[in-house]
Symmetry: C2
Subunit: 162 residues, 2 copies
């Protein structure tokens, strides 16, 4: 089971966008440069976030992306699902209804015990991701990001937004 790299990028980008002044917008190319990732591919992730309403795009010369919803109302799960989709990790193909022991389909319970357990785990994963919002991440930033890096990052954003 693997999550794609764009998930990591999307989370970092959303965090950065939450730090911007309300009316400012940061282009995808600058976000890519800031994180050292391929710009054209990162754009795909940002488009997914835009479709989900988490960020909104501003076209035109001084355009870019900015948060579309208050940081406190965006959970990590929202970002992850916007990029990776809403499907469950476990997909039941109903093999219990195949083979020599199969009987009339209407006799089976709605979900088999195995799928039930797997779905439960999936929900536990989602529930945990729902607990943390982007605003929570901003709070942790103060204690986890080296002060030097924060200064350099702020300087970079200052220059780009001017």
């Amino acid at each position: 089971m693997r999550l794609g790299e764009p998930v990591e990028w999307a989370l970092h980008c959303t965090t950065i966008l939450a730090l911007l002044p309300d009316d400012a917008a940061l282009p995808a190319s600058k976000l890519a440069e800031f994180h050292g990732v391929p710009a054209a591919y990162l754009a795909k992730a940002l488009q997914s976030l835009s479709r989900a309403g988490i960020v909104e795009s501003v076209p035109g010369r001084h355009g870019g992306y900015r948060l579309g919803v208050p940081a406190a109302e965006v959970t990590i799960l929202d970002v992850v699902e916007a990029v990776e989709g809403h499907e469950t990790s476990f997909r039941c193909t109903e093999i219990r209804k195949r083979g020599p022991a199969k009987v009339s389909p209407r006799l089976y319970s709605p979900v088999c015990a195995i799928a039930e357990a797997m779905y439960r785990a999936d929900e536990a994963w989602r529930a945990e991701l729902r607990k943390t919002t982007i605003a929570d991440l901003l709070g942790r930033l103060a204690t986890t990001v080296p002060i030097e890096a924060a200064v350099k990052g702020a300087a970079y954003l200052q220059e780009v937004l001017s």
Copy 2:
């Protein structure tokens, strides 16, 4: 995020193997026929389970696979990890240490806040899968499997093992 089909197969196969008499062994080809899945590919999953010690292989004419550990001591997580590997779903590539805001690597905290949250969700998923054992699944079988299917399944196993 997607789990491969062999995960589902492995769980069903482990459950079936737990139903067999202690000294009996069921070949991969019969397990495949029972579930209606490609035999040669299922073999790969069973080999993974064998390497993990969850099942043990019996070579030779009346050989096959049988449970290598009591059903009560095998959790769903054990089976899933045997087939899918032990890696976390989220892989942190440390993009925070790249780009124009980067500073000396020794200044950074061991894990960033984002990765920390993702790992926490991963652990919640694993914890939930650890709660259910194969023995638990057997208990649920009595109430979730149609009685007709149970009879046909038992008859099939009787014939194959004779």
